[in-house]
Symmetry: C2
Subunit: 301 residues, 2 copies
């Protein structure tokens, strides 16, 4: 699982601060999460292949998470895309993109599907062979979802020595991987746990931006491997957080601790701060395994 | 008159190629012309004050001329803008921007006026004390206008020596500047041309992008000081020009020559070309006073 931060700043694009966008590589999928203005250029800088992006998840329709999408969709057309593109985002996203394409008389020549979201409860929005994506309803000024990306639990691993020892016939191997016991020719039942190892733990990533402090998300992100949580402010600007429905670094850390996640990544920093180091210090006091997002930074998870 | 090229490439933004946008400084106005994705960042790089932009002219609603506008309008709000912003562009631009602001629940807190264009004839769209802006209807795949920016002809300059020689009373000076003759106390009429010099010639700038080769624009841009004309292709890709309704460098030069303009600036280059030098060579053979646009280049005109 690999996370590439294309942009992790709040509000408006600047020379050195890109608005929110990131790419999650998981089980051979390249998921684009949010698409602020300038995302196309950031994708090029990271040498990420446009053609590998088939699913785009948009948290909410504020410009710093969404205004790069019309351009990206147009660029796919210019690049001669033929394969399906699926866009998941709040109700209204289809009308907006469709209107812009109509005004430019620039319809896509590839199949473009919108999956509009309006539920206030978590729901599965994508299910592949090896990955599911579900929404994490967030508390922001407008309808907003985070997204939980989760590998499905794989098959059990064959215990090669054990199957040799019990002389288990090859034709049982698939059943063993599925967790079934084996009954030998002599009638003896061998417990599956003797013949197989547990599968690798499934990896998971939760993207939560933008949101105010909300413990309601904890059951949804409980024990997730990696949590990206917005931290627009430091505690010194704490009063601004509920007003703008954003979080502080400390609040993000409290959520990470209460949800017992593996690692916390902070992002969506206000550009008012000269350095992002204080975000890490503030959060680490509560949740030590914390990292800072940075435009262009790659996390191998 | 100063022209800053923020972006001069066709199609999609890339790391080093920005889509169309430019700023014309004329008689204390800062006019923004077109607004491709990334224009805000280019404005910052050029250290152009956002608050000085009060009028934005959009040629047409293809993404590479327009997809930076929603973000810029939102940024003006975040910067606490209070003054009016006027946007001139094709019919539909108001619906598009309004929908995006509505979806983000991010209405501007400053007065935003749309001046929607639909005429197929040239019309004056802005008239200030010292400058007029009129449309130049262009031939492209969708409804498109170029824009002609023209200083109004100033007052005549007082011939200080002549007024002293004829002992003309100060109270006549304003009339002399307006071109009127003077009748002295002895009844003698002094011709205005003896008492004043011609005003400085008025400067003018014509922006023509995107368009196929069209001689219909020549009467509108005749003897303009500076013509920016698109040159998406070289003659080697000549067949693509009418198909996509764009021009070649040679075609732009022919227009410049036939319209007897002062200087030609080429732009809107296709990113298929490694270097833009051949554009200059191709055009210079027909119209020698030609320059190439370049992202970040400033022309003092």
């Amino acid at each position: 699982m690999k996370l590439t931060i294309l942009g992790c700043y709040a509000a408006t694009p600047r020379s050195l601060n890109n608005p929110t966008s990131q790419v999650l590589e998981i089980k051979n999928h390249l998921f684009l999460i949010d698409c602020g203005e300038g995302t196309q250029v950031q994708l090029r800088k990271q040498k990420l292949k446009f053609s590998r992006i088939n699913h785009i998840f948009i948290s909410h329709l504020h410009g710093d998470h969404f205004f790069g999408l019309p351009g990206l969709i147009s660029t796919f057309r210019l690049l001669g895309r033929k394969t399906e593109l699926h866009v998941y985002g709040p109700k209204g996203i289809k009308e907006a993109i469709t209107l812009l394409l109509k005004l430019g008389d620039s319809w896509t020549n590839y199949p473009l599907y919108f999956h509009e979201l309006s539920s206030l409860e978590s729901e599965i929005v994508f299910e592949g062979n090896k990955v599911t994506v579900s929404t994490i309803p967030l508390q922001h000024r407008i309808y907003t979802n985070g997204f939980l990306f989760k590998e499905k639990i794989g098959e059990r691993k064959l215990n090669v020595e054990a199957v040799a020892k019990y002389r288990v016939n090859k034709c049982y191997f698939q059943n063993i991987k599925k967790g079934k016991d084996v009954i030998l020719e002599n009638g003896q039942r061998i417990d599956n746990r003797l013949l197989s190892h547990d599968p690798l733990p499934s990896k998971s990533y939760a993207f939560c931006s933008d949101t105010q402090y909300s413990e309601e998300i904890i059951p949804l992100i409980n024990e997730v491997g990696v949590l990206y949580h917005e931290a627009t402010f430091l505690e010194s600007e704490k009063a601004l957080a509920p007003k703008t429905k954003h979080s502080t670094a400390m609040e993000a850390a409290i959520i990470a601790k209460k949800a017992n996640v593996g690692k916390l990544i902070l992002g969506h920093f206000s550009t008012r701060y000269g350095s992002t180091c204080p975000f890490k210090e503030e959060a680490a006091a509560i949740f030590p395994n914390v990292e800072l997002a940075e435009d262009g930074r790659i996390f191998d998870l």
